[in-house]
């Protein structure tokens, strides 16, 4: 359903220094599978998902969703995904009902289908209490539910969640995870990013551990713990990340050592010529 091959994203800030946010990330997600991206803040999860969601264009690499290329067939890709993140807000001066309806219409859902689908979504997400409350007066949980309804209104086969539980209290987060599990049961593919281990352990069929824009390890939780000989998943994550840090640190140290060497050499040459 989803296939990412060597996705890479470079940013350039105004002073012109390049910054690599995602560096050659590849993974596949099958139908009816929940795939997790686990990583610390700033690991490149959001950038990666934004590239899948066609909001950002990859600097290199390709990705297809339901067989459509995210760069050349962006419109079809957008029609086939439901995308929700902590950043995707809702409008202050629109009620949840209007908001979901607006997105349904823009997705081209016919009126006859739209209404019953919205009724069932609102029922399932228990949103009927606040369907006529303006967005500005909704609590974080209500907003999140509205965003989920918005992401599901066109019945997408692929759903992308970017840290959906961040900022939610335990109860709301729990019910949200339940909803995600339901989506798998309906046969949808779900990609979701998080930095919370327990969510991964509870939900994900497979997981990729991301750090500094690279995938350090990928597979089922059980496979990973077995491969790395570390039964505790949290410990495993920490070991992988700190291992990667150490590697890049020694690389950098090696680089500076070379530079020092060159410097020492040149100064030696300088003193020789002086002498």
């Amino acid at each position: 359903m989803i296939s990412a091959q060597g996705l890479t994203k470079h940013y350039e800030n105004l002073s012109g220094d390049p910054f690599v946010a995602v560096d050659g990330v590849s993974f596949e997600v099958a139908r009816g599978e929940i795939f997790g991206l686990l990583g610390a803040n700033g690991a490149g999860k959001t950038t990666c998902l934004r590239m899948l969601g066609t909001v950002l264009q990859p600097t290199a690499g390709t990705a297809t969703i339901a067989g459509f290329d995210v760069v050349t067939q962006a419109a079809e890709v957008r029609a086939h995904i439901g995308y929700m993140s902590g950043n995707t807000g809702i409008y202050d001066r629109m009620t949840p009902w209007e908001f979901v309806e607006y997105y349904g219409r823009l997705h081209g859902v016919p009126r006859a289908t739209l209404r019953p689908r919205m009724e069932s979504l609102f029922e399932r997400l228990q949103m009927n209490d606040f369907r006529k409350t303006p967005g500005a007066q909704l609590s974080t949980g209500m907003r999140q539910k509205t965003s989920i309804a918005r992401a599901l209104v066109h019945d997408p086969p692929v759903v992308i969640f970017d840290e959906p539980t961040s900022g939610l209290d335990v109860l709301v987060a729990r019910s949200l995870l339940g909803i995600i599990a339901d989506l798998r049961r309906e046969g949808r593919s779900v990609v979701f990013s998080t930095h919370i281990m327990s969510e991964v352990k509870r939900l994900c069929d497979r997981v990729a551990i991301v750090h500094r824009g690279r995938v350090l390890a990928a597979g089922t939780v059980a496979d990973l713990t077995r491969e790395h000989g570390q039964p505790d998943f949290e410990e495993l994550f920490f070991e992988l990340v700190s291992g990667s840090e150490r590697a890049s640190g020694s690389q950098r140290a090696a680089g500076s050592a070379t530079a020092d060497g060159v410097l020492a050499n040149s100064s030696a040459t300088g003193s020789e010529t002086l002498a």
Binding site: Y11, N13, S15, G16, V55, I81, M94
Partner: protein, 798 residues
């Protein structure tokens, strides 16, 4: 289309639910103007001008008839309006009336005035001025000694039969300084007795006739005000003095103004005010359409990003263009509604205020000076391009902002520019002209101004309508497209809070400059070139009219050539040098071989008759050629102007300079990312827009399409230069043929003349079409551009 409508509908509903926007767009205009009007009325009621104090020296020297003073102040009849008497306070040196208490301030003022006059006579202006300001005097009227007596003397002489009319010279040897020193009482005593019988009027030409003087300081507002009021009084009084003299000399009193009678002013007070109102209309519309666009635009882009709904919107399966168009339509809607509501409110308030002025003719005057329904309809049509451009620009600019607050920062310059343009158009000297008509905002608002200037306004603007609307459409289109490009770019939508350092940015631009120009470089380049062109027009001096036609033509030619080289060709080269890694590649400066050059010449020969024919067909559409263009045209035909100068200015300079700019740098940037047609069309429109005169805009745009295509097809700038040069050479040839040898055999074979001027004959047209087809065919068989393969593909190392 459906997506556009849905986005538009949502944004409109969203804005209507926003109290701030509603307040700015609806409540403010509805309440503001009545409140302002009420305030103005209140102010008018409460406002009373401060009376000005005037000191009069030598009141005893005044003649008894006609009396300037009455009860120690100016007689009311010398004022234009009786109520004006209260605006002037007079301090005279006449002895105070018996009952009046001594007044310290009065004595002080009199002393100061005397000192000022003395010092003026002794030392001149500078010292007197200091004393004048120190004493806070406002104006001093000095009546010289013996003034009244001499006047009486003259009048007595005039009454004699056969009297002369020259005034007698001063009989006493007193200098003016001494005269002013003498007190009024002495002056009265020494008054020379009129002795009509013994001294017959002797004409003494050139002698100074002592007259009343006003002393004031033009640099001080209070003094000027006191001066103008008292001068008015003295003027009226002088009229009566003159009338007395004329009557005594048995002359008709109309001799006072022997040549010019009273002016005829047809205005009615209400009409004057109505005119004031209509003059304000363009400014209100410009400012309010901008204000109306301002807040929704910020909310729709920057606000959306601030609330985090932008990303949600971008993952919808509708194109960015649809989103931008929907948002643009919503902003435009608010801009239009705000402007129209403001206009209605201004109109309503003015009407109310006007109708509160009593007067029977006022209703007719209003009916006459308020614009008719046709003009109002055209006004709304003209409002569209203004509101459209402002909406698109606001939308595009707010793409740079991450929050509402930042949006206000980015849009404030637009507000200032809009205000500046609005006020510029308001100034009385600025009138609609072909050059101004195609400028953004200025064109439409000047057109509104002309439209509202009177019943003939509609006729006056008709000729400009196409150029104003087309150019505005182009600007709006460009701004919308810019907004769209910004929406497509991800850096603008997910901008980090990067610190902007101009030097680092410039260094980065320099380091990463590519083999070809980018789109934004081309757009910025066009802006720079147009700015230079504008300065060129403003700075151009019209050749003085005392030169002969030939000299005028030559100086115009020289000026035109200078503008081409210094303000177009050279800047284009400099810009190319700044933007491009190797300018020759981006400018397509390479030898294409002889064949493409020949194709260029062939296409020019084929296209020119077609262009002439089109222009001939459309001659009804274009306004008259402006003066300078006609002078330039004359110069082309003048046999006294050396041919090399004509060829250099009209053929070579444009072919090189304009091609370097438009087919060089601009086409290169505009056709970047493999979008050749975008480059050809937009560069042609820009080329047309730079020509100002409607006919030339039209011709240049069509020619620009062919030139752009030729350049991209051959991969070299030279064929376009050849084609441009040939086209312009043909234009000279055509002009000479039609003027000098219109009755020759060749001319008769090529051209036929009808009411709208000479046009090509049918055989010539057929030959032209054949030429074009041949050129096209030949070009399509030539190998494609070679520059692309030679171009270094490696990225520049930084």
């Amino acid at each position: 289309m459906k997506g556009v409508w849905q986005v538009f509908y949502r944004e409109l509903r969203d804005q209507l639910r926003d109290r701030r926007t509603l307040f700015m767009a609806v409540v403010l205009p509805v309440l503001l103007y009545p409140a302002l009007g009420l305030g103005a009325l209140q102010m008018a009621l409460l406002y009373r001008e401060k009376p000005r104090t005037v000191v009069l020296l030598g009141s005893g020297n005044l003649p008894a008839d006609p009396p300037l003073l009455e009860n120690g102040t100016f007689a009311p009849r010398w004022f234009d309006l009786p109520t004006d008497a209260g605006r002037l306070q007079l301090v005279t040196d006449a002895p105070p009336a018996p009952g009046e208490p001594a007044h310290g301030r009065r004595e002080e003022l009199l002393d100061a005035a005397r000192r000022v006059w003395e010092s003026y006579q002794a030392e001149g202006g500078a010292a007197a001025g200091q004393a004048f300001d120190l004493a806070e005097l406002e104006a001093v009227i000095v009546v010289p000694d013996g003034f009244g007596a001499r006047l009486d003397q003259v009048r007595a002489r005039l009454r004699q039969p056969g009297a002369g009319v020259n005034p007698p010279a001063e009989t006493s040897s007193q200098s003016p300084a001494e005269a002013s020193q003498s007190t009024p009482a002495e002056g009265a005593d020494e008054r020379p007795q009129p002795d009509a019988t013994t001294s017959p009027p002797v004409p003494e030409s050139g002698a100074e006739w002592p007259r009343v003087r006003i002393v004031y300081n033009k640099a001080r507002d209070q003094s000027v005000s006191a001066w103008s009021r008292s001068a008015n009084v003295l003027e009226n009084w002088q009229g009566a003095v003159l009338a007395g003299l004329l009557a005594d000399g048995r002359l008709d009193r109309q001799f006072a103004q022997p040549a010019i009678g009273p002016d005829v002013d047809l205005s009615i007070p209400a009409e004057v005010s109505a005119n004031q109102f209509t003059r304000l209309v363009p400014l209100v519309l410009v400012l309010m359409s901008l204000t109306g666009a301002f807040y929704p635009a910020i909310d729709l882009v920057a606000g959306e990003r601030e609330r985090g709904t932008m990303e949600t919107l971008l993952i919808l399966p509708i194109s960015r263009l649809q989103i931008v168009l929907g948002k643009f339509a919503a902003v435009l809607c608010f801009s239009l509604v705000t402007a129209l509501l403001n206009l209605l409110s201004v109109g309503f308030t003015s009407r109310q205020i006007l109708s509160s002025i009593p007067g029977r003719e006022q209703a007719t005057a209003l009916a006459m000076s308020l614009p008719g329904p046709g003009s109002v309809a055209l006004l709304v049509v003209l409002l569209l391009p203004v509101a459209g451009l402002f909406s698109a620009l606001s939308l595009a600019l707010s793409c740079f902002a991450r929050s509402n607050k930042e949006g206000q920062y980015y849009l404030s310059p637009l507000l200032m520019v809009g205000m500046g343009l609005g006020f510029y158009c308001l100034s009385p000297g600025v009138e609609l002209s072909p050059q101004l008509a195609i400028l953004p905002i200025i064109g439409p608002s000047l057109m509104m101004k002309t439209l509202l200037s009177g019943p003939a306004g509609f006729e006056a603007v008709r000729g400009y309508l196409p150029s104003v609307l087309l150019s505005s459409l182009l600007y709006t289109g460009l701004a919308v497209w810019w907004g769209c490009e910004l929406f497509k770019g991800e850096a603008v939508l997910f901008r980090d809070s990067d610190r902007f350092e101009p030097r680092a940015w410039l260094r980065q631009q320099w380091r990463t400059r590519g083999w070809h120009a980018t789109l934004s470089q081309a757009v910025a380049g066009f802006a720079v070139l147009m700015l230079l062109r504008f300065f060129g027009i403003v700075g151009a001096t019209a050749p003085s009219s005392d030169l002969s036609a030939t000299e005028r033509g030559m100086s115009l030619l020289k000026q035109t050539a200078g503008q081409q080289v210094w303000l177009l060709g050279l800047p284009a080269l400099v810009l190319a040098g700044l933007c491009l890694r190797r300018p020759a590649i981006g400018l397509r400066w390479c030898w294409p071989g002889w064949k493409p050059l020949a194709v260029g010449a062939l296409l020019a020969v084929g296209l020119f008759p077609l262009l002439v024919w089109l222009q001939h067909r459309l001659s009804w559409f274009f306004a008259n050629t402006p003066e300078t263009a006609r002078d330039l045209g004359q110069a082309l035909l003048d046999p006294a102007v050396p041919l090399w100068q004509v060829i250099g200015t009209i053929v070579l300079a444009p072919a090189i300079c304009e091609e370097l700019a438009f087919r060089g740098l601009l086409l290169d940037g505009l056709s970047s990312q493999g979008r050749a047609w975008r480059g050809v069309i937009i560069s042609a429109l820009m080329f047309g827009a730079s020509h100002m005169i409607p006919q030339q805009v039209f011709n240049a745009t069509l020619l620009g399409l062919a030139l752009g295509w030729l350049t991209l097809r051959t991969g070299s700038l030279l064929p376009a230069m050849v084609m441009h040069a040939c086209n312009n050479a043909l234009a000279i040839l055509f002009a000479r043929l039609t003027t000098h040898s219109s009755d020759s055999k060749i001319a008769g074979w090529l051209l036929q003349t009808d009411v709208s001027g000479p046009g090509p004959t049918l055989p010539l047209l057929c030959a032209a079409i054949a030429c074009c087809a041949g050129g096209y065919f030949w070009l399509s068989r030539l190998p494609g551009p070679v520059a692309a393969s030679e171009e270094p593909s490696s990225q520049p190392n930084s």
